[in-house]
Symmetry: C2
Subunit: 344 residues, 2 copies
DNA sequence: AACGGTTATGCAATCGATTGCGCAAACTTG
DNA sequence: CAAGTTTGCGCAATCGATTGCATAACCGTT
């Protein structure tokens, strides 16, 4: 492998000092160099196919032009879109991303944060599942720019980007309510996960607004956001409250599990029971009966978090709001119908 | 942000020279330093919470401990698993990955390769879709270690990891054949994509082995690996060759499109027609009737490619085979049945 | 005690860029 | 035309680590 050409090579070639070459190639300070010299240097740089060594740059400037992106697990379908959203903003700015998977494991997360710091990342975008994330809060306090995604940060002064979970739950609740449903159970996510709690709280809020007594509510908490838990909890709901005509699920996978359980037990969706999801994950339209759900803009969430981080890295931390709430929208398919009672 | 502690800090603290500190902290050369001094230095390093600056390390050693991972699009569900497979091997070795999405765009790919080189990656894992990839071949020839994934490399001496597409097609063909199908159409992928061509060639080979005349074969080529193309080509197949009882599709998404088209037109799968896929992507078991497909081990493919690259980076390029073929397996669900003719 | 041979450590260059400072030449001004 | 100012570029330090070579101290040997 032939060595890459360096400033020194260009300096030798053009007969000037490396510092002159450095300045001539920097649009910022090109002004202080004679045009004639600049041209000569640019020509040589072109001819020798000069490409700046970013590692040397990083060492000197203490700026790696690299960010860390921490996600629970890239194989979880919501994260690839987020990652691309981040990339769409950061790449044009010259930043590269090192993506790490925490697997929701705090020790691992701590280690990964350390290796990101060792690599001198200029900032971190942290998408959490757990509600608390002491590790990332700590590095943020050390002064490393951090933006979190999908998680409301109570503890610290870290900017966060979240989806309007409350509005989503409200909209889908109202969709069910207006279809005539009054016995609406909530298949909640794990309350130690940020989205699990937020959505459950939103459910409590909207039911209260509609005058439903809290004691009458049927809420079943899943241990994980998985189909199996959706099945289990649906069974629990239906045996505890057979009058239930609609299950408002905290996410699509729980909803798919719910539908699956119903199908297996001869309960038809939506004829016998209406079921809704949250997230609008891919391929949902291929799975019958077509889940009505809340669409959240993953790509845009990633892009927005990246924009905030970029602003901080650009020295305008004062311009970034502590809270950014992204709008959600209903995605109506076929899993909601009028309640079975009023059908006859 | 308080400055990180450096070797110099430890040297000052312990009264020795930085070179001594460097050696004491390096397990390789610790031997040449008095145990007593080593202990003193390690204690100080511990106390000051020393963490080596990888950027300085990289500059001096000309080794960034970073690899580039080039994929078409992380939101395409097969890639996250590959990425995690790579990570599972590289992270324990101290390597981080910069993941870039090429979008199958050659110009973009070229740019991305340059930025990876600027960042001094030690090697690249390149998962292609297109059969030819002149850009990556060029950098490989410049001496940068490259391993490709999912793509048989004809042009150059680049190690590649592929799945046993031939065996997969053969197995699923035989499954259909043994179920009694004789009119088996092939819904092919785009022949300019590596997997598209490979699978079509495998189809040709196995049908030839079974004594089917090439002129009698019904093959329809999709323009993209998408449901819509699956629908379009299925329609074409069924109007051209209504006697078709089975469609062997080049991948799952085409197969889902095929099923969708059939369902919409009142053709029942598997009762009226058998349809098979390839890849075994996630959530397939939730989509009726349950696609019978070929399972390929994405995670393992990534891990294997990473192992090869690691070996090269370790200076044992001679030990890596030019070709690695990973086994595939059948995943039988419910989209295959006996042909409708023989059912009566 | 002198000598050759280890051994542990220091010195300084190096990786490739950036940048404050200084200096000489060119220019302006009265 | 002398004095002061500006301009254009070079010098050298710096970022934080690694490493070949030099050297001083210590060892045993005769």
């Amino acid at each position: 492998m032939t060595r890459r050409t360096t400033l020194k090579d260009i300096a030798r070639e053009t007969g000037v000092h490396v510092s002159t070459v450095s300045r001539a190639l920097d649009p910022q300070k090109r002004g202080s160099i004679t045009e004639e010299v600049v041209d000569k240097i640019r020509e040589a740089a072109e001819r020798l196919d000069y490409r700046p060594n970013r590692i040397a740059f990083s060492l000197r400037k203490q700026k790696s032009m690299t960010i860390g992106v921490m996600i629970p697990d890239i194989t979880n379908m919501i994260f690839p879109a987020i990652v691309r959203g981040i990339e769409s903003v950061m790449e044009p700015l010259g930043y590269a991303a090192i993506i790490v998977n925490t697997d929701g494991n705090s020790d691992r997360e701590k280690r990964l944060i350390e290796t990101l710091q060792d690599r001198g990342v200029d900032g971190i975008i942290h998408t959490a599942v757990l509600r608390s994330a002491p590790n990332i809060v700590e590095v943020a306090h050390q002064g490393l720019p951090v933006v979190t995604l999908n998680r409301k940060v109570e503890e610290a002064d870290i900017p966060y980007v979240i989806n309007d979970e409350e509005a989503g739950i409200r909209q889908i609740f109202e969709l069910l309510y207006q279809a005539g449903h009054r016995n609406i159970a909530h298949l909640s996510g794990p309350p130690d996960l940020s989205t699990g709690l937020l959505r459950q709280q939103a459910f409590l809020a909207v039911t209260a607004d509609y005058g439903m007594a809290r004691d009458d509510l049927v809420i079943e908490e899943a241990d994980r956001f998985e189909e199996a838990e959706g099945r289990r909890c649906t069974q629990a709901i239906l045996s505890r409250a057979p009058e239930t005509t609609a299950v408002l699920c905290a996410n699509d996978r729980l909803a798919l599990g719910a539908i699956d359980h119903c199908t297996r037990t001869g309960v038809k969706c939506p004829a016998d029971i209406s079921i809704t999801g949250f997230n609008d994950m891919a391929f949902l339209d291929l799975i019958p009966p077509g889940l009505t759900t809340v669409r959240i803009e993953q790509f845009e969430a990633g892009a927005q978090a990246a924009r905030l981080l970029a602003k901080i890295l650009d020295g305008h931390a004062d311009q970034v709001p502590r809270e950014t709430v992204l709008p959600v929208s209903l995605k109506i398919r076929n899993s909601v119908a009028v309640p079975r009672a009023s059908k006859s």
